[in-house]
């Protein structure tokens, strides 16, 4: 039970940091895009914000896996590793689509 409570706290922190960071990038980027002259900075900020947001669940799964490995819970270590691999496969598919553009 204490393992789960510990994990819950850690995952909460990862999610909070990811969402807050991406919100700041997106909000500043969107605000800048309205004030002309800084459009390249604005689009960089928004793209970075989106990438941070998309990376947040990946970081959450990676954190879970690290915790399960640390506690030698091999069943859940393997399950989270599979999820992580599936997410990596998504990135590979994205790169394939990107190159075809």
């Amino acid at each position: 039970m204490s393992v789960d409570a510990d994990l819950e706290r850690r995952l909460g922190r990862v999610l909070t940091v990811g969402v807050r960071a991406s919100t700041v990038f997106l909000a500043v980027g969107l605000a800048l895009s309205f004030t002309s002259g800084a459009t390249s900075v604005a689009s960089w900020l928004m793209t970075t914000g989106l990438l941070i947001l998309m990376a947040t669940p990946v970081a959450r799964v990676a954190t879970s896996m690290a915790e399960y490995v640390r506690h030698r819970d091999w069943t859940f270590s393997i399950l989270t590793a599979i999820v992580l691999l599936e997410l990596c496969a998504g990135v590979v598919a994205a790169l394939v689509f990107h190159r075809r553009l």
Binding site: L15, V19, F34, R60, S64, E86, G90, A93, V96, F97
Partner: protein
């Protein structure tokens, strides 16, 4: 591709706030409202709407889950088992989304939501929980403190293969149509797998971040994600979902189920209408 204007950005910001509020109250993300709005209301291609919606789903999932830590409503173990299936479904959906006939999928989706809506209505008064903490929860079950009654609620998870299958389908539909997939998972977990609605919604909301991330990255790679529109939708949904979370924990389970059923029927009608156009 829609032209990005300040007015369009503001409309999407407002729509995101409403969608986020409703979505987090029901634990099904905001996509189920945002996608019909962007496609039917704003005339966007479904791929563009889906890409925007998937990024908001990641935001909702992360915000809601981070806010819920400590309540034990999220069943992490169940979530992580089901994520294996949902991420696989999402990955396949994201890859096939670019080549598929959307009309067929919309009709399937309309049929699924009607079925799930009916099952929710017919099980309005059924409760999957046992009072007190004496029950053996099994490997995947859990217990949490219910705010309404102030008592400890325990449950076991039944029919795990069915939950896995529903999660796979949910992941697939999620990537194809840009929704979180909670609309399928929550009722299945609640009606057939023994998970109380609150815990099913919290666990689903926790999982859909992974589901949506797997799909969103593929749309992003394919150049269908428009950053300013996604930014506006995410910021709106984030504001709305924080408000919705507060309402959600106060509303009763029965009224949440009725609201969920109404939403399911409405979404089904919209999807059917769209597929016949």
């Amino acid at each position: 591709m829609p032209v990005v204007t300040p007015i369009l950005v503001l409309i999407i910001l407002a729509a995101g706030t409403v969608a986020g509020g409703l979505g987090s109250t029901l634990g099904i993300g905001g996509g189920i409202f945002l996608v019909p709005f962007l496609t039917l209301g704003m005339g966007m291609p479904i791929g563009v709407a889906a890409a925007i919606s998937l990024t908001t789903v990641i935001g909702t999932s992360s915000t809601v889950s981070a806010g819920r830590t400590g309540s034990h409503l999220i069943n992490f173990r169940l979530g992580m088992v089901l994520e294996v299936a949902t991420a696989a479904g999402s990955l396949l959906g994201g890859i096939t989304a670019q080549h598929m006939n959307q009309h067929t999928l919309e009709r399937i989706f309309a049929a699924v939501t009607v079925a799930v809506g009916i099952s929710t209505v017919t099980r309005l008064n059924k409760r999957n929980i046992v009072r007190g903490d004496g029950l053996d929860c099994g490997r995947l079950g859990s217990r949490y403190l219910e705010e309404e009654s102030g008592g400890v609620v325990s449950y076991r998870v039944k029919r795990v293969p069915l939950a896995l299958f529903a999660s796979f389908v949910a992941g697939n539909v999620s990537s194809l149509l840009g929704i979180g997939g909670g609309v399928i998972k929550v009722p299945v977990l609640n009606a057939w797998c023994g998970v109380p609605l609150r815990a099913a919604a919290a666990t689903s909301a926790f999982m859909i971040g992974v589901t949506a991330a797997a799909g969103a990255i593929i749309y992003y790679g394919n150049g269908q994600l428009i950053p300013p529109l996604a930014a506006a939708a995410i910021l709106g949904v984030r504001a709305g979902s924080i408000a919705g979370m507060r309402i959600g924990s106060r509303a009763s389970a029965r009224s949440l189920k009725i609201l969920l059923a109404v939403v399911l029927f409405a979404v089904s009608g919209l999807m059917l209408y769209r597929s016949l156009q």
